[in-house]
Symmetry: C2
Subunit: 698 residues, 2 copies
Amino acid sequence: MPHSLDPIFRPRSVAVIGASTAPKALGRQILENILNYRFCGPVYPVNPKTSELLGLRCFPSVQAIPDAVDLAVVVVPRPAVPGVIAECGTKGVRGVIVITAGFRETGEEGRQLEEAVAAEAARYGMRLVGPNCMGVINTDPHVRLNATFAPTMPLAGNVAFLSQSGALGVAILSIAEERNLGLSSFASLGNKADVADDDVLAYWADDPATSVVLMYLESFSHPAEFARVARQISRKKPLLVVKSGKTQAGARAAISHTGALAATSDLALDAFLAHCGVQRVGTVEELFDLGLAFARNPLPPGPRVAIISNAGGPAILATDAVIGHGLEMARLSEATLAALRPRMPEHASVSNPLDMLPDADAPLYGFALERILADPGVDMALVIFVPPLMVDPVEVIGALETARRTAAKPVVGVLMAPEESRALLHETFPDHLALCQFPESAARALAGLERQRRWCARGPGQEPKLQVHRAAVEQILEQAQREGRCELHLHECFQVLEAYGIPVARYALVRSAEAAEEAARSLGFPVAMKLPWAGIAHKTEARALALNIRSTDQAFHTYHGLTHGGALGDTVLVQEMLSGRETILGMLRDPNLGPLVLFGLGGLFVETLRDVAFRPVPLTDLDAQELIAAIRGYPILAGVRGQKPVAFASLEEAILRLSRLVQDFDVLEEMDINPFFASERPEECRAADARIRLRPKP
Amino acid sequence: MPHSLDPIFRPRSVAVIGASTAPKALGRQILENILNYRFCGPVYPVNPKTSELLGLRCFPSVQAIPDAVDLAVVVVPRPAVPGVIAECGTKGVRGVIVITAGFRETGEEGRQLEEAVAAEAARYGMRLVGPNCMGVINTDPHVRLNATFAPTMPLAGNVAFLSQSGALGVAILSIAEERNLGLSSFASLGNKADVADDDVLAYWADDPATSVVLMYLESFSHPAEFARVARQISRKKPLLVVKSGKTQAGARAAISHTGALAATSDLALDAFLAHCGVQRVGTVEELFDLGLAFARNPLPPGPRVAIISNAGGPAILATDAVIGHGLEMARLSEATLAALRPRMPEHASVSNPLDMLPDADAPLYGFALERILADPGVDMALVIFVPPLMVDPVEVIGALETARRTAAKPVVGVLMAPEESRALLHETFPDHLALCQFPESAARALAGLERQRRWCARGPGQEPKLQVHRAAVEQILEQAQREGRCELHLHECFQVLEAYGIPVARYALVRSAEAAEEAARSLGFPVAMKLPWAGIAHKTEARALALNIRSTDQAFHTYHGLTHGGALGDTVLVQEMLSGRETILGMLRDPNLGPLVLFGLGGLFVETLRDVAFRPVPLTDLDAQELIAAIRGYPILAGVRGQKPVAFASLEEAILRLSRLVQDFDVLEEMDINPFFASERPEECRAADARIRLRPKP
């Protein structure tokens, strides 16, 4: 069945609307690119001012074209765009790429125009890329579409590239050529009025020419859909992204810890991408280093790296970087060492790293790599070559090519050589091993491969079946909304948690000092007493909380103290004092990423050390386990100084139930369960305090 | 006065001993390099097998040279090296560079030979660089020495480069040329048998041609001397280093926390370099990015960055990186914005980042940079240029040159262009602004400039005058050594601390249950009781510690419990229970870095979160303040949830006194003061437990 994006990526014919006669105009450049790249179908320039362009017949309008048009590339001035889109629709065009800028990115008026254009395209069932983009490329020899204005002709290869930014797209294509990185497809999406990142990702999932996807993104069009699609694809094809822009647009008056933590950290975004199986890289350069490594290598069978070098310093740098990235230095077998020794120069260091000294020539490099990759204790190799005067880099790379192609293990090279020799190399061995300029970058690339292996080896986990009382929660939330409240009272919070099976401290609501005495006695001393009303953030500071009440007398007086003799209203919540290791469970709704669950150590840790981790919902059991293990203070939960571990299963279940709660109720905006006491005994793992904030009614 | 390294870096004449007739031999290459680089003095090839080489008269030995020889470059086979050194000495040669390899790096025999060679050179008062190095360069037009075998002829400039590794040196020179980075001097030190990193550093401190020093180091020859020299120089000339190799060679059976923490982290090295004012960079690439930025820019007046771009995506990447590196985004003044607006294209985003859209041409770039640098709210600028088809990169860079040279503020550029245009650029503007390939690298480079500004602005601090009882400590340490102990008993530790004015808990040593009762009563309940004997690490686990003893009865029974009725010896230490925020003070002696003082949060924090910071001794008051503020948990000391701050002055003084103790006694190998209670009241800041380990007698 044809895909709705086929007319964009695999059109049978293309019209360039706004093809220009001016040599430096974008419309002219796009037409030239399409022709120069030898598009496999008819090309129709559209421009009412001329009847011929670059040797092609030029049409006054898209409707004047006598044949069917699959794809229209629109480069007309902004005011003309809506009319052109309508004409395309009438003509039966199936996909449009709007290069023209001046829409959403310029303000409210532009946004409205953009929405009108998108709606018009949708009315005719046309998919629309852009506006404000630099176009689309497909290097498939049966298509050969270069509908961009970039000055670089793309090399064909197995890497697909998605760039939200048009200008960066131009740079990306230029760097790809310089790095000899071949592309399957390229798409610059611009304002994403219709075709979104997740659409293209899903399309490339089924594209046999694409085995790696690189992305530059500033936002997610539909985070939940992106997560769903990416989580699937990433098990088959590595996804790498440079994500820029802040997670939360501007400062947000976050009244609770959970909110504040997400706003001030990039953790949420990292968590979201990790959850999707997308590797986030820090820089565009790293994106290329890793992209190239993925494009030219299988995944490693494990984390053990062997280093081969002709220079000691870079080998040490590489070793440090290998360890620093969490990989392991392989231990070469006796057989391997015995095979290597006789061939090595006198003072060579025959171990890992293998330092063959500057005399090492191409045959020695080839021999060493072959032997080392054959060692079952080696999962991948990092080969460093600093060209001395007497050895030719191209010969060395040639020898490495032969060796690495016989072994199904990844090899990344470091060529610390001037640019000239690299160009010659690309010509001689178009698919040569991935090369970095520095040892550290090569180690980082290998670490990316290993991370991908671990992701693929990790199962997706199970979404557990949980019994919950949805109706009970609905009732509480509706009541609060009816009363115009955005925060729940503490006892309501407890009821919500209990309805979803998240255990809370035993408590009682009392309306008199005598009832407080009675409740305290029946809960057992010591108890805590609180004003349960919504809107009291730090209870200690607001004098709305009293802990460690040890007698009925104290309970009596505390009741009066908290209520100021009844002035603040007379309901007080009395609850048992819990003990255990303090944790925080929470959720927040990130405007760019959707709902996230949070876990961390509670108390001082959450406030001062910000030792928390995030995950987007829905969570599987495995996700919950990883969320708990992700915090720095994990050893405190696992038990130090002879302490027993907390009941992890209970903690995990509480997180999964929280995830379910978040999924079930869109109106939940922010939650803190802090502290949630984690104890060695499952039955003592319980929430001692909670806050729930609802989305304000529009 | 002439410097002992002048014959190495500024020789008036050079002999190449081992100058070879074989075209690819190192000895031939070095001679060629010296001649091709037009050395400003006589050059004497030495080779007994020929009488003429490259048109020069060739001498059978250094002694046969009729004139004085300042510098001898030695490239003879290893066995001939000692004889050649002796001949040089006899001849009156003043400096030697030994290129020949096969010494310390090959094992014990090589090490002995190397020491013999170094001793021989010293006997004649000759300074010796190497062995196993690639030589020395000085680009000073009055010297023009290129005594290396690198294939690259160095560009002249203001950056000095020190490389411990020879092979990496070759790569460094090649990359420097590619990046258009001009060098003042270059030295590859190899095995550092005589001339050490700190020697060269001190030499370059007074070299007017050098304004930045880049280093690749694997070890420090004399860490204390390096620290002393670097701390001075770094206030005048930025020092940047890639330091590789692990801090601690191999795993060390670290019995205490302090030791284990240093062994498993890179923190100690980071602390050492930060203390020296040396910026440690992660990769060779970063070294060049920062080196270039320092070479071409003044220091910024502050941390505020303005970004100018013709593309939105890269500008966002740059913004993220600027914030991520701790810099600030400048707020442009109304006057600046008003001046910019009329000249900008229609949809340009006139703020910071300033996005001028792809149409921006050279004059617009020049205008924008000039206006923005004139804004008093801008301390430095990051300019991004993604070349569109119609704008020439060389013209844009030219316009930026004019603008930036009138303002005394740093500018780093990002040119996301193919390599070709860069080469042309270097030709047209040899000293053009520092350029990076990626926005992130440019932000990192600006952050390096700002870090240097802060370092220069920060005074060195004062080493305080402290009253201490040195003799008392001497006595205790000698006693322990006489008894063959490497660990002090707890009461000895307390006495050592007290002698140096580090406050400890009040305590008493008792030898009977009755005395324990009496001591507990007089100290006041609750008390702690401990076996004070050396060698008991985790006292709780070893049942050598009892806390919270609340009655004389309990003290009585505890005495018997701890001593097993006297079986373990009958001395027990009774001490008051302290309270406050637990910290750890410690020291360790790193084999590569010398003595370091450690500070961190105590208890669970130190064990599970490793929240500690290090500093080499001696410390100034400012160093101590920074050490305390460096830990993540600092807010806990400053006070959270309405808590008051601890008495920082007392904590600081304890650290300074510890530093002094460490300085005064070389025999101290490792110390833990854990916990040291930090309290709001100065008089309650006291050590509750301590361990001191001495260096074993040889």
